[in-house]
């Protein structure tokens, strides 16, 4: 198993910490993991991406140039990275901010209204975790349980009050993915 996930969007969507959560949970499951961020010069609102690799074998190259999964949190990210996804890969997109369907015919695709879900939970910054919940559900790369537990490790103690919201986000994402069923690229 090797999942090379690219999470892409802009700052403030919680992308980097979501990627970290995935890595952490993977490590706790005994998998090999790596996490690589990349962001623009803006402190807030600029691009924020991160690449997470989760694998049962040692990771030679942690760089993700051809992701197995793209989690696109806004339109520019989808536009920039859609073509790089591996054939047969997965595209999860934030349907709150992306109004068009991905064009790739050879990838599995699922849209999740992450902003709406996050706002309904009461914290826009958990949007990316909604997507992560969906990813875990679809990919089964790690268990949802590991992710839920890893929150305590990833969030610093003074942020632990945010754990419930984040758990909710993961769970909601997973639920939506479960209920939606995956849009299969071949027939969407």
């Amino acid at each position: 198993m090797l999942e090379a996930v690219l999470l892409a969007g802009f700052g403030g969507q919680g992308i980097l910490s979501t990627g970290m959560l995935l890595s952490y949970a993977g490590m706790e499951e005994g998998l090999h993991v790596s996490w690589i961020p990349s962001y623009g010069p803006e402190m807030r609102g600029g691009t924020a991406n991160c690449a997470v690799t989760v694998s049962d074998a040692p990771i030679s190259s942690p760089l993700v140039t051809e992701p197995t999964t793209l989690i696109a949190m806004n339109l520019p990210s989808l536009e920039k990275y859609e073509t790089s996804v591996r054939p047969g890969g997965l595209i999860l997109y934030n349907a709150s901010l992306i109004y068009r369907l991905p064009e790739r015919q050879d990838a599995r695709v699922l849209g999740v209204k992450a902003n709406e879900v996050a706002e309904s939970i009461g914290n826009i910054r958990v949007a990316a975790n909604v997507m992560l919940g969906a990813f875990i559900e679809v990919s089964q790369a790690i268990s949802l349980k590991s992710a839920l537990e890893a929150l305590t490790k990833v969030l610093p103690p003074h942020r632990h009050k945010l754990i419930p919201a984040n758990q909710k986000a993961l769970q909601e994402g997973a639920r939506i993915a479960r209920e939606a069923g995956l849009v299969n690229s071949v027939n969407h």
């Binding site: 993991v33 760089l63 140039t65």
Partner: protein, 354 residues
């Protein structure tokens, strides 16, 4: 042993603390910021000092003072900031003070950008400052290796009374991987009877200096430095070979790029192409021996891959010395080579060999 997920930049900091470094002077710059952030928190915990300097020029000169006073001391920066340190590094090298300088290289030249790069290779290994001096330069390729090499860096600095540089790029600095810290190593820096601590009863005064107005004297200093560098070249070359024994195409790459190259080696081997990797761990002294050996052995061609326009390439050519063709593939400006690109390049070379 507990595995913890750690950022590269933090690993530099924790590695330094484990090496007994208690003084850090620096000036903020992306993409190495997590290193000072980490140490600003961590050093006071162990009775150490994090001091933010007013500039990189000041930082390296604070390092000079702290090293003169006998401390294990470190600074870190990224490309433009390291350029500003060149005068100071030359002074420290001439005054023969031990210290560690970390350069998390970013896209250049100029302000460039904050994306990963290896374009300060020349500056690091040939000496971007004035005069005939050299720095041992270490290039870790994983977070775990950062922890290990930073301890080595301090040891080499003390052993040779010379600044040591550790280079990474923005990816290495900001990525996270699990590391096993293990018990802290025993650290016993050598005594420093030359340190300017105040005489405190010592009979003779200590003077830390790099001025030798008589050419005869300065030449003596230079001969001593050159002898030291010769020793470094004899004792400190370090490299990793990966499936290189029987390889007909040898990729040469350092740091993060070597990780990519490893993936290429594996995929090419699966495709039946005998590719191997030689990864310099020390950029200076440059591990020319394994390259020369390959050049006289199984290797039919070399491929140097760098995130620059071809800098280490020159050292590889000097080592191979015309015996086998040396190819180059590089990306610049913060672009990162993909596995597929390097595979393509290897295939081309392989076709050409047939």
């Amino acid at each position: 042993m507990e595995r913890v997920l750690m950022k590269g930049n933090e690993a530099f900091g924790e590695g330094a603390v484990r090496a007994g470094c208690r003084h850090f002077f620096g000036y903020p710059i992306t993409p190495q910021s997590e290193l000072p952030h980490y140490l600003a928190r961590r050093l006071p915990e162990v009775g150490g000092l994090y001091l933010q300097a007013e500039s990189e020029v000041a930082a390296i000169n604070m390092v000079y003072g702290a090293a003169a006073a006998g401390a294990r001391v470190m600074t870190s920066s990224s490309s433009p900031g390291i350029s500003l340190m060149q005068e100071g590094i030359s002074y420290i090298a001439c005054a023969e003070l031990p210290c560690v300088v970390v350069n998390i290289m970013r896209g250049g030249p100029g302000l460039g950008n904050i994306a990963p790069s290896q374009a300060d290779y020349f500056q690091a290994v040939k000496g971007g400052g004035h005069g005939d001096y050299r720095l041992p330069v270490l290039a870790p390729a994983s977070i775990q290796e950062i922890i290990d090499l930073i301890v080595l860096a301090f040891d080499l600095a003390d052993k040779y009374r010379n600044p040591v540089m550790v280079v990474g790029d923005g990816i290495l600095g900001q990525m996270m991987e699990p590391v096993e810290l293990g018990p802290a190593p025993e650290v016993t820096p050598p005594p420093k009877p030359w340190a300017t601590t105040g005489t405190l009863g010592r009979k003779s005064r200590n003077v830390v200096n790099s001025l030798y107005i008589e050419p005869e004297e300065l030449e003596k200093v230079n001969l001593r430095l050159q002898a030291k560098y010769k020793q470094v070249e004899q004792e400190e070359k370090r490299w990793e070979e990966y499936r290189a024994d029987d390889a007909q195409v040898i990729i040469v790459a350092f740091g993060m790029v070597a990780r990519i190259a490893k993936a290429v080696v594996d995929s090419m081997r699966m495709a039946g192409i005998p590719v191997g990797l030689i990864r310099p761990v020390t950029l200076y002294p440059f591990p020319d021996k394994p390259l020369a050996a390959s050049a006289s052995g199984a290797a039919k061609a070399f491929l140097v891959v760098e995130m620059n326009a071809g800098q280490m390439l020159e050292d590889v050519k000097l080592a191979v010395c015309g015996r086998k063709p040396v190819h180059f593939y590089g990306r610049t400006g913060g672009m990162v080579t993909s596995v597929a690109e390097v595979e393509g390049k290897v295939r081309d070379i392989w076709e050409g060999l047939k």
